[in-house]
């Protein structure tokens, strides 16, 4: 049993498939649909796992999730994943641990590096055209 990705009109979908040998060679058989790649890239949701287990029997989800994680994600899909996770981000922001780092301290120099990257990024993104006026460079 293995993970199969199909591209249908610019979107990629994930399936569970298996190879069946027949007289003419090996034929691929789709066993179950798991969902769009943007919804399963971070792990197959519990409800999908249950549905598939009911349909085809017990599946090694650890292996399936590991195989899905090996699929390279495209930039547009990453953006979609971020959009899908927005309600989670809002929920996290509303919880007490707002910075998301918990109590983990920064490594020495990490904040300096971050400030340098922030300054460089801002200068790349915005051109200063007046004392307090900037022009955004939209690529």
């Amino acid at each position: 049993m293995y993970v199969r990705v199909k591209k249908i009109s610019a979107k990629r979908y994930v399936y569970l498939a298996e190879g069946k040998s027949s007289s003419g060679g090996v034929r691929q058989k789709i066993l179950a649909y798991l969902g769009p790649i943007v919804k399963v890239a971070a792990g197959v949701p519990d409800d999908v796992e249950k549905r598939v287990d009911r349909k085809i029997g017990v599946v090694d989800w650890k292996k399936v999730n590991m195989d899905i994680r090996k699929i390279p994600i495209e930039f547009g899909e990453m953006q979609d994943m971020r959009r899908n996770q927005l309600p989670t981000v809002i929920r996290l922001r509303q919880s007490s641990r707002r910075d998301g780092r918990g109590l983990m301290p920064r490594a020495t120099g990490e904040l300096t590096a971050l400030a340098i990257l922030a300054e460089r990024g801002f200068n790349e993104m915005f051109e200063r055209v007046g004392e307090r006026t900037y022009r955004m460079r939209i690529r």
Binding site: Q79, L86, R93, L111, T112, L117, G121, F126, R132, T133
Partner: protein, 196 residues
């Protein structure tokens, strides 16, 4: 203006809003998307002689070019009802205090009343054909320090430090100290001036 003309112009506006949403859907960079969206909201409100400013986490994200990301986009406006109408025309739906556009993956939070900040300190960003007003760095630093002191949001001290470090040559020190004193955070202001 006749009723027919009013109806025609509002229909045209609705069509433009829908076209903008479709265009923004294609935008790959989320910060560009948010800035263009806010630019359009600003444009619509300024036509009605109202103002809108980007504040909070999204302002930090803008000034740090995305090094500190945020979930929703905090804005403050002179007319929250008119702002709500503009957001509704852009297919945003209201969920509690948040306006959410699921297609764009953008959430907008209209916070409080219009800022009691010095608007002369605000930065103006030209974003394509639009203009976006972003709260001044000085007010944003003081705002982050208030979060640290009064809401125990420890992570906001880092944001204040990075903002101060990166904009110290442009910061109005007198205004910064005066505002910090007014908001009761003068005692931790000096901490923000040392990065590590």
């Amino acid at each position: 203006m006749s009723r027919r003309k009013t109806s025609q112009s509002s229909t045209k506006r609705a069509v433009r809003a829908k076209a903008l949403v479709a265009q923004l859907r294609k935008e790959q960079n989320l910060l560009n998307l948010k800035m263009l969206l806010l630019g359009y909201i600003t444009y619509r409100l300024e036509k009605a002689k109202q103002h809108v400013f980007l504040v909070g986490g999204q302002a930090v994200e803008t000034y740090t070019a995305g090094q500190f990301t945020t979930g929703d986009m905090d804005i403050t406006t002179t007319d929250s009802k008119a702002t709500g109408r503009v957001l509704a025309s852009l297919d945003f739906e209201q969920i509690g205090m948040i306006w959410l556009n699921k297609r764009l993956g953008v959430a907008v939070h209209i916070v409080g009343l219009f800022p009691n900040a010095d608007l002369d300190k605000a930065r103006n960003m030209e974003v394509g054909p639009y203009k976006v007003n972003v709260i001044g760095v000085e007010d944003l630093i003081v705002d982050r320090l208030a979060h640290v002191k009064f809401f125990k949001v420890a992570g906001d001290m880092e944001k204040a430090k990075v903002l101060y470090t990166n904009f110290k040559r442009q910061i109005d020190e007198n205004y910064l100290r005066k505002t910090a004193k007014k908001r009761g955070v003068e005692d931790i202001l000096d901490q923000a001036k040392v990065l590590e």
